[in-house]
């Protein structure tokens, strides 16, 4: 049994009078410590999968098993606890708190965790120790994304979920962020899932789940993932 298993998961939204079926019978699994990429174009339903895995949203039907525990049908309180202790999130637009410095943004997450990593160490890992006292408005996009990664990482989560982490970044910065994610996985043995529309990124993954129109079109296991430096887009 996989570390993460989504089985026959369905999710639909009401949009005005019409019903949007975002996920239709999604089934896939990811092993512990893997770097998995969910690929798909806009509207393929990949972010919905990520939101359900992260406990930000719930599915209508099907199972979502994380480390042997089914979070489908968990209460709001249980999901809050799950997000608090088990998951780290990285967003396309960073979503940092503008009123907190880089270090404080990271500390904000650390305050919640049962066994957080030292804030300074994490900031050193993402290469931002010198900029620790800067506010988000004083940081570049790449730096803000590094803070966001540090914030996700400091909780020492079992699962790191990234939604288009390079979507708002230029090529060079995007690659450095991917490098960082790979390093983190190696150092902390976390399972990392990245959602992206950038097919090139798929080459660095252990596992690729390709989605189309709310369904899993293909699932590949990559025996020889490339380092981020060698991929191109």
């Amino acid at each position: 049994m996989g570390y993460i298993e989504m089985k026959h998961s369905f999710k639909s939204y009401k949009m005005g009078d019409s019903l949007i079926e975002a996920n239709k019978d999604i089934t896939f699994s990811v092993e512990k410590g893997e770097l998995a990429i969910i690929l798909g174009s806009s509207g393929a339903g990949k972010s919905t999968v990520l939101n359900i895995l992260g406990g930000m949203d719930t599915n209508d039907k099907g199972d979502v098993i994380i480390d042997g525990r089914n979070i489908a049908g968990a209460s709001a309180h249980e999901l809050t606890k799950y997000r608090r202790l088990d998951v780290g999130f990285v967003f396309q637009f960073y979503n940092l708190i503008p009123d907190l410095t880089a270090a404080e943004n990271v500390a904000l997450a650390a305050e919640l965790a049962a066994d957080p990593l030292p804030v300074d160490e994490v900031l050193q890992d993402v290469g931002l120790w010198e900029r620790r006292d800067h506010f988000p408005a004083q940081l570049s996009g790449g730096e803000q994304q590094r803070v966001a990664i540090a914030r996700a990482l400091v909780k020492h989560p079992r699962l790191l979920l990234c939604d288009e982490p390079t979507g708002a970044l230029d090529y060079e910065t995007g690659k450095s962020v991917l490098r960082l994610l790979c390093d983190i996985r190696e150092k902390h043995f976390s399972t990392v899932i990245i959602v992206t529309h950038n097919t090139a990124i798929g080459d660095m993954a252990d596992r690729v789940v390709r989605m189309r129109s709310g369904e899993v079109a293909e699932m590949l296991v990559n025996d020889c993932p490339l380092p981020p430096e060698r991929i191109d887009w």
């Binding site: 972010s47 939101n51 992260g54 930000m56 949203d57 709001a76 309180h77 809050t80 606890k81 997000r83 608090r84 202790l85 998951v87 999130f89 967003f91 637009f93 979503n95 940092l96 708190i97 503008p98 009123d99 907190l100 410095t101 404080e104 500390a107 904000l108 997450a109 305050e111 919640l112 506010f135 988000p136 408005a137 004083q138 803000q144 914030r151 909780k155 708002a168």
Partner: protein, 791 residues
């Protein structure tokens, strides 16, 4: 409907909670403005009309007695248009239950046409001009109502040592009786025990045993007449007849009280509504600023399409204008209702013929103009930021709002103790300084309103407590028709019920210093009195001097007298010759009510050239009220009035009860205002930080923790507002008291600690409720949506 109007309606719909909260604030402001201003205009108009139609005297002169022929001599003084001579005297009434009341028996020359201070018939019929048959009298409506007197009923007076029975033919009032008070020492009207009895002059003279005599001259002066000169000339004419007192209209007690009430309404009408308007302007500004910021992209698109700045600014401003117009319309409707209710109540209270009804159009127009100005100003001010939006830039993702260090970070010992959520709240407050200031000030105003609503009852309660528990410690005050030897009443001390008896002698006198002269009432008492103590309005005790005069600050100020000065005292008691003495002022007393000038009983007797006489006695009995004793006094003709402290307290409690409704309304206004402010602030904080809060939810913060974060920021502002509002409320109360106090009545700005606690408690409730209304939104926070969309 244009697309922009439709967009405006949709914006109003999507922010309906805030729109409604703003409308509530504007409505309350307009309601107060229209209600109070219309009441003021109507009562003021009614007062002016009433005074004019009934030719209210410009000056009143009081003499011991003078022949009617003196009236023609006074009328001949240049500057005098008309003089009316009449007889007026306070006499005891024996009521059907044998209780005593006081009648101010007032004679009127018939026909009334052309005379000064004429009567106004309210019900029944005029009295007959001739003196044959039963004597018909008119009484003031309050006395008639309190004593169930209807036409045909009889009243019995004791005058000139005889009983006289008079038949009531109706009720009437006059310009000097709009607020009938017995004397300056009365705290409030007591219609059960004091009434105006109006009667034809000849019959009054007959009853009082003063045929052909008058004791009052009412004078109508020509416009622009030199009052001081006219007064001097008339006083010279009246000098041989014992000129007791002369006072202009503004010192007449009924007018002074009505005027101070009108002034009070005017002050409230011109201040309170503007607090609401200013708060509305401030909050509108903040809401619009936030709306414009959140609509940066659509504004950029509109500009790209070719809309000019003016058009877009007008569109944003119309939100504020819509608030104003809806609020002004609702407020006008409610305000007109409030004005009708208030002016009728006050007109009744003041015996004024009903104030003319309807709408005071200028007030309505002003309120629409003022509120529109508020809406447009705040709208234009907020929408200035539209000018800085460039289309291309507006369509790109904006940078995060700039986080900044706060001055608090200069104190690491404090800053390092704060957790991230406090740091966020504090930085957010420092970033939104205008909003912070507006919220703090607005909460402060709501708290000021709360304190202001409750403080008058504290001040009155303080006055009553002081008056009955510390100043007047007697159970009864028994007053005599004329001063008696107190050896005659000392026998009362042998009555079983009487614990203590103290005589008192009141001497009406002119106090003169250098060129100036003022009428005063000097109260003569034993310096070791235990039944009456002298305290000033700040609660400081004064000793009644064994020798010399403790002078009231009102008279001292007018005369320019200081402690240590010598003054000349000329008695003006309507009995015996006037006597002149010199007294040293040993102290100045600033009383809450009444005369406030005291001398020793011995000095009072010396001033009158008498020995051991008293005009009243104070008594302490076994129990506060003893009917057995009251019955004995009712048999005595020389007793003019029996005043029971317990009964006065009861009457006062009733009066205070009726004031509770208006206090309740003020508290309701304050709560609505506070609720609207806190709701708006919380919603704005929520909207602005929605994304942040969603991020926190994703990080694993629970709903309660996120709601707590929002609460924290609002509480910081609310607590500061409350802390500032409590002392500011006291200051507002003091300012109001200072502007509304009269010669007769001056309340200290006393606020009990209890009131601060209640005001703070009520404020905590509205803060909590306002937050609850806004915080419901945290439950609806959609993490996925909030994080997906860039503002």
């Amino acid at each position: 409907m244009t697309i922009l109007s439709r967009k405006l309606l949709r914006t109003i719909h999507s922010t309906r909670g805030q729109f409604l909260a703003l409308v509530v604030i504007v409505t309350l402001g307009v309601l107060l403005y229209i209600g109070m201003s219309t009441t003021y205009y109507r009562l003021n108009y009614s007062q002016q009309q009433f005074y004019e139609q009934h030719r209210f005297a410009d000056y009143t002169f009081q003499v011991v007695k003078a022949p009617e022929s003196v009236v023609a001599r006074v009328e001949a003084v240049p500057g005098v248009v008309k003089a009316t001579g009449r007889i007026q005297k306070d006499v005891p009434i024996v009521k059907t239950d044998n209780q005593r009341a006081t009648a101010r028996l007032t004679g009127y020359r018939l026909p009334l046409e052309g005379e000064v201070s004429r009567l106004h018939l309210l019900s029944g019929r005029w009295f007959d001009a001739d003196s044959s048959g039963a004597v018909g009298v008119l009484v003031d409506p309050q006395y008639a109502q309190a004593n169930q007197l209807t036409p045909g009923k009889e009243i019995q007076l004791i005058a000139a040592g005889k009983k006289a029975t008079l038949t009531v033919v109706g009720t009437a009032t006059g310009p000097e009786f709009v607020y009938p008070m017995k004397d300056a020492s009365s705290l409030f009207p007591e219609p059960e025990r004091f009434g105006i009895v109006m009667i034809p002059q000849t019959q009054a003279q007959q009853i009082l045993g003063l045929p052909g005599q008058v004791n009052q001259l009412l004078v109508d002066l020509a416009p622009g007449a030199d009052q001081a000169r006219v007064k001097e000339q008339i006083e010279a004419i009246l000098q041989p007849y014992g000129n007791i007192a002369s006072y202009p209209r503004q010192d007449q007690s009924s007018h002074a009280i009505l005027q101070s009430e009108l002034d009070g309404i005017r002050i409230v009408a011109l201040s309170l509504p503007f607090i609401f308007f200013l708060i509305a302007a401030g909050i509108q500004f903040i809401i619009l600023t936030r709306l414009i910021r959140s609509q940066r992209m659509p504004i950029g698109v509109m500009k790209a399409l070719g809309y000019d700045n003016r058009r877009i600014m007008w569109h944003d401003t119309s939100y504020g204008l819509a608030v104003s117009l809806v609020g002004a319309t609702l407020g006008t409707g409610l305000g007109i209702g409030m004005a009708a209710l208030m002016s009728n109540l006050l007109a009744q209270y003041f015996n004024l013929p009903a104030a003319s009804g309807g709408v005071t159009l200028p007030v309505v127009i002003y309120s629409f103009l003022i509120t529109s100005l508020v809406g447009v100003t705040s709208g234009v001010w907020a929408s200035r930021s539209v000018l800085g939006i460039h289309p291309a830039e507006a369509m790109r993702t904006p940078p995060p709002p700039s986080g900044r260090r706060t001055p608090l970070e200069g104190w690491p010992w404090l800053w390092e103790r704060l957790n991230s959520s406090w740091r966020m709240s504090l930085r957010s407050i420092f970033r939104n300084r205008v909003r912070f200031a507006v919220t703090v000030l607005a909460v402060m105003c709501a708290v000021v309103l709360l304190v202001f609503a409750m403080f008058s009852s504290d001040a009155t309660d303080f006055l009553i407590n002081k008056n009955y528990n510390r100043i007047n410690r007697y159970d009864y005050q028994v007053r005599f028709t004329e001063p008696v030897k107190y050896t005659q009443v000392l026998e009362w001390t042998r009555w079983d019920e009487v614990q203590r008896l103290e005589p008192l002698l009141e001497v009406p006198a002119k106090v003169q210093f250098q060129e100036r002269s003022e009428d005063d009432l000097l109260v003569g008492m034993d310096p070791s009195s235990r039944l009456k103590q002298v305290y000033d309005k700040y609660g400081r005790p004064h000793q009644i001097p064994a020798q010399g005069l403790l002078l009231s600050s009102r008279i001292a100020d007018k005369l320019g007298v200081k402690a240590g000065d010598m003054v000349t005292v000329q008695t003006t008691l309507g009995l015996g010759p006037s006597r002149t003495s010199h007294l040293k002022v040993v102290g100045i007393n600033d009383p809450m009510t009444g005369s406030g000038s005291y001398i020793s009983l011995v000095t009072a007797n010396q001033l009158l050239g008498e020995q051991e006489v008293a005009s009243a006695v104070l008594l302490k009995l076994d129990r506060p009220r003893m009917e057995s004793v009251e019955e004995r006094w009712q048999e005595m003709n020389r007793v003019s009035a029996v005043i029971s402290s317990a009964q006065e307290k009861e009457t006062f409690a009733k009066l205070m009860g009726s004031a509770r409704a208006s206090i309740g309304i003020m508290i309701l206004f304050a709560v609505l205002l506070g609720l609207a402010i806190i709701y708006n602030t919380s919603i704005m904080t929520f909207n602005e930080r929605q994304r942040e809060l969603a991020s926190l939810r994703v990080l694993g913060y629970s709903r309660r923790e996120v709601a707590g974060l929002l609460r924290q920021e609002t509480w910081l502002q609310a607590l500061l507002g409350i802390a500032l509002g409590l002392p500011a409320g006291k200051a507002a109360g003091a300012a109001y008291m200072a502007s509304a106090s009269t010669d007769l009545f001056s309340l200290p700005a006393i606020i009990y600690p209890r009131t601060y606690f209640i005001a703070a408690g009520v404020a905590f409730i509205f803060v909590w409720m306002g937050q609850q209304l806004a915080i419901r939104k945290v439950g609806q926070l959609d993490m996925v949506e909030a994080l997906k969309n860039r503002d």
